[in-house]
Amino acid sequence: MFILTEETTDPNSLRFLPGQPVLRNRTLEIRTRKEAAISPLADRLFQIQGISTVVLGPDHVTVTKHESDWQHLKPVILGAIMDHFVSGAPVLRTAAPLPIASAGRSTDVLTGEIREALRRVIDPELGYNIVDLGLVYDVVAADNGDVVVTMTTTTPGCPATNYLSEGARACAASVGGTGNVEVRLTYEPKWSIELMSDDARNHFAAQRRGRR
């Protein structure tokens, strides 16, 4: 894989062209590590010290730095982009609309409350909540309180799927200030144990016999 690098008008920004589509027909600007959770590629780039913004375009990835110099950053960024595309991971965890730019403080609060409420939904097989298991990929609230929860299940076709999505819908709807709730099931990307929170992973690693 060969990645071209282009300078931009901003000396703090560099454009990387991996020679394959990045985001089809759209551009997404990601400004924080938290926002980067939606994209495995951006997440990987935000792990590099000194990165302030990542823009994912149809055929490019533009990275803006706020410290350090390109001589040190460029090889690390090239390596991260290369690793991402070689891994086969998707650029985005979900195909859901991403109104991050329009999300104000109130919707942030609402999505936070909904995520907290979704911890009441327990995956019946694993006996642990769906948020910490990493089954909830995204919660997006519009200004009018309408909510889209994008989630998956541990196994496609699991008989619990419909109950889990209905449970998540009911739970999200129970949060005050929530309008219509839509639950979107996706298997792109497929769930894996790497998506579990540290708490969940420790729980399964440290379970003791006889614990109920």
Binding site: R120, V121, I122, P124, E125, L126, G127, T153, T154, T155, P156, G157, C158, P159, A160, T161, N162, Y163, L164, S165, E166, G167, A168, R169, A170, C171, L185, Y187, S192, I193, M196, R201, F204, A205, A206, Q207, R208, R209, G210, R212
Partner: protein, 451 residues
């Protein structure tokens, strides 16, 4: 549709299967059939079919009706057919057992029951094959586990065709020379297709998926499990098709059995490596009872493979085929079946009862429906008794075998009591575990509420 629904009649299949298992163990404890009677005596044939069709085939059919839709993430082709299929299978099995009783001289009649048994069993299995086959046929590409099931279903066709030929020849209703040749010599092929192809291949395929699911291990999709699939499929084809070709040519079946056996051992070796990897790579460090007890079944399977090699090396294979078959049927397949039932019944019951209120109120976990401490000792007894019984068969110690069979029956009854307690939610003592809208389930039928 991303999620699949609960199979309404799966519990009925399980209940019928468990009744037949208890019946078979009671007969063994009572000294009916092998080793008290010769290996090919009608009494032994009755016993073997009680286990192979009554217990294991009904168990596998019931499980596949639920899990094939899960494996391929599509609903079952037809939800109505499982009940008539079950009734045909039970009626056919009753006819078959009656036919063997006629052969044994236990009762006489002016007509043979074998033609009726053949027709009913072929219809019952035909309905299962049609339903599962149509469900699988709608999916491309087939996931790995589904490919194993596909090969198992093709092996079931071979098993039923060969078995039907035997039954019709015993009922004296055929005179075709080729069919009579098959009836007289193809018994090993019938056993390989039934125990190796149908029951074991289905169990291996489903175990790849269930072990990964229940132990939080990464799903295996690489080259080695595909090699297991291909080697196993070629082994079955070489044995069954090659064996039939040799039989038609009036030659000995031995080359086909030997070639198939070597290929099978290679496939089993790779399968063993995959299973070990799944156990080692699991995230769930302390595994649940079902996975723990599945390990004993897998050990029995490995022991059977080693025993087969040892017997072949000592040239005592044909003399000890009864002990080897017993270990495969009871140590491997029955052990695996009981261990997985322990989980599946809890899981399906949870979904039926608590699925509709999930997220609306607090619910128990699947694990809260079982009392593993009570069941663990009975599982240990079951496996210990099975291994003792195998040793008793190898040593021709009939009384010890019967005592061990009685212990197996005792353990099985105790495990069944635990399964019933799970199904009826009797292990949940907290009244808060019964929120509004949750009812005790029916023992034999899944009646899921729409969510």
């Amino acid at each position: 549709m991303l999620g699949t629904t609960l199979s309404r009649w799966t519990m009925s299949y399980f209940a019928a299967a468990l009744c037949f298992l208890i019946g078979a163990e009671a007969l063994m404890a009572a000294g009916y059939g092998f080793p008290s009677a010769p290996l090919r005596a009608p009494e032994t044939l009755l016993l073997v079919h009680l286990v192979a069709i009554g217990w294991l085939s009904l168990l596998v059919c019931g499980a596949l009706l639920q899990f094939v839709p899960v494996i391929v993430a599509r609903p079952l082709h037809n939800d109505t057919l499982p009940l008539p299929a079950l009734l045909f299978l039970i009626a056919g099995l009753a006819g078959l057992l009656g036919g063997f009783l006629q052969l044994a001289g236990t009762f006489t009649a002016n007509f043979s029951l074998f033609p009726f048994a053949t027709a009913a069993l072929a219809t019952g299995f035909g309905l299962i094959l049609y339903n599962l086959g149509r469900t699988l046929a709608a999916v491309r590409p087939l996931p790995l586990a589904a490919r194993f099931v596909g090969v198992a279903l093709i092996s079931l066709v071979a098993t039923v065709a060969l078995g039907g030929t035997f039954a019709l020849s015993l009922g004296l209703t055929i005179s075709n020379p080729l069919a009579l040749k098959i009836a007289s010599s193809a018994l090993p092929l019938h056993v390989v297709a039934g125990v190796g192809g149908w029951l074991t291949f289905a169990a291996m395929g489903v175990s790849y998926r269930l072990l990964a699911m229940f132990m939080l291990a990464p799903e295996l999709e690489g080259g080695r499990p595909h090699m297991v699939l291909w080697l196993g499929t070629i082994a079955l084809a070489v044995t069954i098709l090659g064996g039939l070709a040799l039989l038609i040519a009036d030659a000995s079946l031995s080359p086909a059995l030997l070639a198939g056996g070597i290929l099978s051992l290679a496939a089993l070796g790779l399968y063993g490596a995959d299973v070990l990897y799944l156990y080692r790579a699991r995230t769930r460090r302390i595994i649940e009872l079902n996975s723990e007890m599945t390990a004993f079944a897998l050990v029995s399977f490995a022991a059977a493979a080693i025993l087969a090699l040892a017997l072949a090396g000592l040239q005592r294979f044909s003399g000890q085929i009864g002990a080897l078959t017993f270990l495969v049927l009871f140590g491997w397949l029955t052990g695996l079946g009981l261990a997985k039932l322990y989980k599946i019944i809890a899981f399906l019951t949870w979904l039926e009862c608590y699925g509709p209120v999930l997220g609306k109120t607090s619910t128990p976990r699947v694990q809260d429906l079982v009392a593993e401490g009570r069941a663990r000792g009975w599982f240990f007894l079951y496996y210990a008794a099975t291994w003792v019984a195998t040793a008793a068969l190898l040593a021709s110690f009939v009384l010890l075998f019967r005592l061990a069979a009685a212990a197996m029956m005792l353990a099985t009854v105790a495990i069944i009591i635990q399964l019933i307690r799970t199904r009826l939610l009797l292990n949940i003592h907290d009244l808060a575990a019964f929120p509004a809208g949750v009812h005790r389930p029916h023992l034999l039928v899944c009646v899921p509420e729409s969510s």
